[in-house]
Symmetry: C2
């Protein structure tokens, strides 16, 4: 495409700069000024780069998570929040260790390594590893039919995400039970361990971690994710050599719960300061990558919302509060701690907007509320359409704000173009370079616009 192509109707014409002192007159002017202040430098990406440089690994309870708490508190102060504080929460602490290794032992002693990583929360293997024949299944129904035949063996869950499901979160939801419940289900029948095909649509040699849930009344058996390439290799080999064995060694460990914190900053409302419009993401991230999309993006977007609002001199009637929740990934302690903090008793949360679907180009919001509230929000749809984010539909908000939403706030999830998300999710692919500055910033602008409109007009 070259010079003649010019899509006049598709863009927003940005005219002369308005004075930063003026209070903007209409919603369209607000959007124009947010875009101008956002896209000029894409500060959200600069914040993300700083977060990742100083705290590349932020698993709950880790030194990196502590660094991230202190750093994002400083960032909130730097962008001009009226107040910045932390609220305590106690988090689980799990460490990956330094050994995660799996090898297929085939006929004639042939060894084929496959790439694995421990699932979050897994118990370790004995130091010498475990070794056993492999039973490949694609569902818990398969497993139940096999029953006691899996005793002493390694259960290999190999149901892929369904590629024909357009929404990748739906496809993820259709496969992730293997990761979250697979170890407990296999333990029912005496399995020695579990391998789970990485929950991703990408075919590569990068394993994707994520949390598992054990059941207290059942043995805890070690569990690892295998890369999709490795899963295909293992499956092909088992088809030819059903007696092949796998050796699995993990030295991860669970430590005592640790003190941690949610990080909070706000611009105080001028006329209704106790009414809160929350924007947030989660600060903890899996240690396999940099947690750039999941969910460094959501955190820096929340900080950027305050920077934009403050920088433009807007004075919202209700309080706009950015919250970086701790421990979304393996325990969800931050969300409930925030919701149950005694300070909440003096506040009313009008809305809670979470960004936790990756820092991709925004396409709208899912709204978790009653139909009357959804209708109120839809009056702003033409404005969000101009931003390309006009897909405002009923749906889930986010893990960290669900308690606040249950307590009466309208919940919003920033919805994004999601095709690339599970390629990087919970893996070494989730790096700063995979986040596009303008895409990330556009999401922050969408959040800022929604937060400010709600802060001014209520719901």
């Amino acid at each position: 495409m070259r010079t003649r192509v010019h899509i006049a109707a598709a863009g927003i014409l940005l005219l002369s700069a308005a004075s930063a002192q003026e209070v903007p007159e209409g919603p369209r002017e607000i959007l124009r000024r947010l875009l101008e202040a956002g896209l000029q430098r894409n500060d959200a990406h600069l914040l993300l780069a700083e977060l990742i440089k100083k705290a590349p690994h932020r698993l709950s309870g880790s030194a990196g998570a502590d660094t991230a708490v202190a750093l994002t508190a400083r960032m909130l102060a730097r962008v001009g929040a009226d107040s910045v504080w932390t609220e305590p929460c106690v988090v689980p602490r799990w460490e990956r260790g330094s050994v995660e290794r799996a090898t297929i032992r085939g006929e004639r002693g042939r060894r084929t390594p496959i790439t694995v990583c421990a699932l979050g929360g897994s118990v370790p293997t004995p130091p010498g590893g475990i070794r056993g024949r492999v039973v490949e299944v694609t569902s818990f129904a398969d497993l139940a039919r096999l029953g006691e035949k899996v005793r002493g063996k390694i259960v290999f869950y190999n149901r892929p995400m369904n590629p024909i499901t357009l929404n990748t979160f739906d496809a993820y939801g259709g496969a992730v039970d293997q990761r979250s419940r697979g170890a407990a289900e296999a333990a029912k029948y005496g399995a020695a361990g579990v391998l789970v095909r990485s929950v991703t649509l990408a075919l590569d040699d990068v394993p994707h971690t994520g949390s598992l849930a054990y059941v207290d009344t059942l043995p805890k058996i070690p569990a690892a994710a295998v890369s999709t390439h490795g899963a295909n290799v293992l499956s092909s080999l088992l088809a030819k050599e059903p007696d092949a064995q796998v050796e699995l060694t993990l030295d991860c460990r669970t430590l005592a719960d640790a003190p941690s914190a949610n990080v909070i900053g706000e611009i105080r409302g001028t006329t209704r300061p106790s009414e809160i419009v929350l924007v947030g993401g989660h600060l903890d991230a899996w240690d396999t990558g940099q947690g750039a999309h999941d969910d460094g993006s959501g955190c820096v977007q929340a900080i950027e919302v305050l920077r934009l609002i403050r920088g433009l001199g807007f004075a919202p009637e209700r309080t706009i509060r950015a919250v970086m929740f701790m421990n979304e990934e393996n325990g969800s302690r931050g969300g409930p701690a925030y919701a149950s903090n005694p300070a909440r008793g003096r506040e009313r949360h009008v809305a809670a907007i979470e960004s936790d679907r990756g820092g991709y180009v925004p396409r709208g919001f899912t709204v978790q509320s009653d139909s009357l509230t959804l209708r109120k929000v839809l009056r702003w749809k033409p404005l969000f359409d101009e931003l390309g984010a006009g897909r405002i539909i009923s749906g889930y908000s986010g893990v960290d704000v669900v308690q606040i939403v249950q307590a009466g706030a309208a919940g919003f999830g920033l919805d994004v173009a999601d095709h690339r998300y599970f390629d990087v999710h919970h893996s070494a692919n989730d790096t700063l370079g995979a986040v596009h500055p303008r895409e990330l910033e556009s999401g922050a602008v969408a959040m800022a616009l929604l937060a400010y409109l709600i802060a001014q007009e209520g719901l």
Copy 2:
């Protein structure tokens, strides 16, 4: 984000597979089957990989372009087109050569190389290069004020794309005059050569080429794009050392026009075969990269439209025709040749759908037609909304189909999330790896859906 997040309302539930023999009953069923047939393997990306492997460089008149003509004709036959043919066109032929080099000569003999590439169509410098002082401008008005002061010097156009313009095509349109007309304007005042800041929002050391237009009555002076990093280096140095000179050497050349071809394949309409619904992109590409987004993507999407329609056993009433236009980038010979081919006299083009904005996630179509036609198309908007491509607005279609549109066809441009496009456009960054298989395929599905609906229902 982890397991609990599930956006039920945002996705399309894909149920059991339907038999490929059945004619689908409703538009929703058509979409469901297109998605199922598309996203299972993302064949458009496999076609793109094959095109780029066999013809990575496809500048008009090159051996690579010839290879691409033959290859895409074979692809069209392979996917089951009823007929495949080529139609001749004569194209300009320009070669980059092997030398493109620029060096800043500052005080005390200090040499600072900056990364450049010749603009398409540029004349070469003398073998030893040109050398001159540099005049930095950001507009033709600047240049006109300087007038004769630029004689013998190198004009350096350094106006960036405007980052605060949300639509990157609009931002491109606001900067590209420097590239397309800069050499001719500078020649008016006797400049020796031209350097142009690459027309991109990315800050890196990769220059972006593109065509220039000389004016016959003015001298033709050599012109090169400089990387944005290089442009910043040069501008900073000029601020301190206004007498700094630049040496520029280019050995590109223009050869005699060459015979080439548009590549065409179609599924013949059952009841109205002479009524054509065209889908297309352009086959030629700049030689600096692989032309993966611009516009290998549009070509393979057009082929994929035929594969999907044929593979699903759909039998459209009107003819659905895929056209790979030659020579969009530097001459636009393919579009007019297609429109003026005598065979068109026996046909009526109902619609022409071009994809030439990159293989990114689709968000809708711009419609170049009258308001009545737009209204007719908008009755399908809810269906396209399900695909995330419901942004159907008035706008430009595409360079290659403009003659067909002027002759009466409704024009459509596949519109995509465009933040990343100009990072890669016309540069070494435009590679296969930058195209996401699901994003590309979703665009093909959107085109197939629109083409099939029009083929069945007319406009």
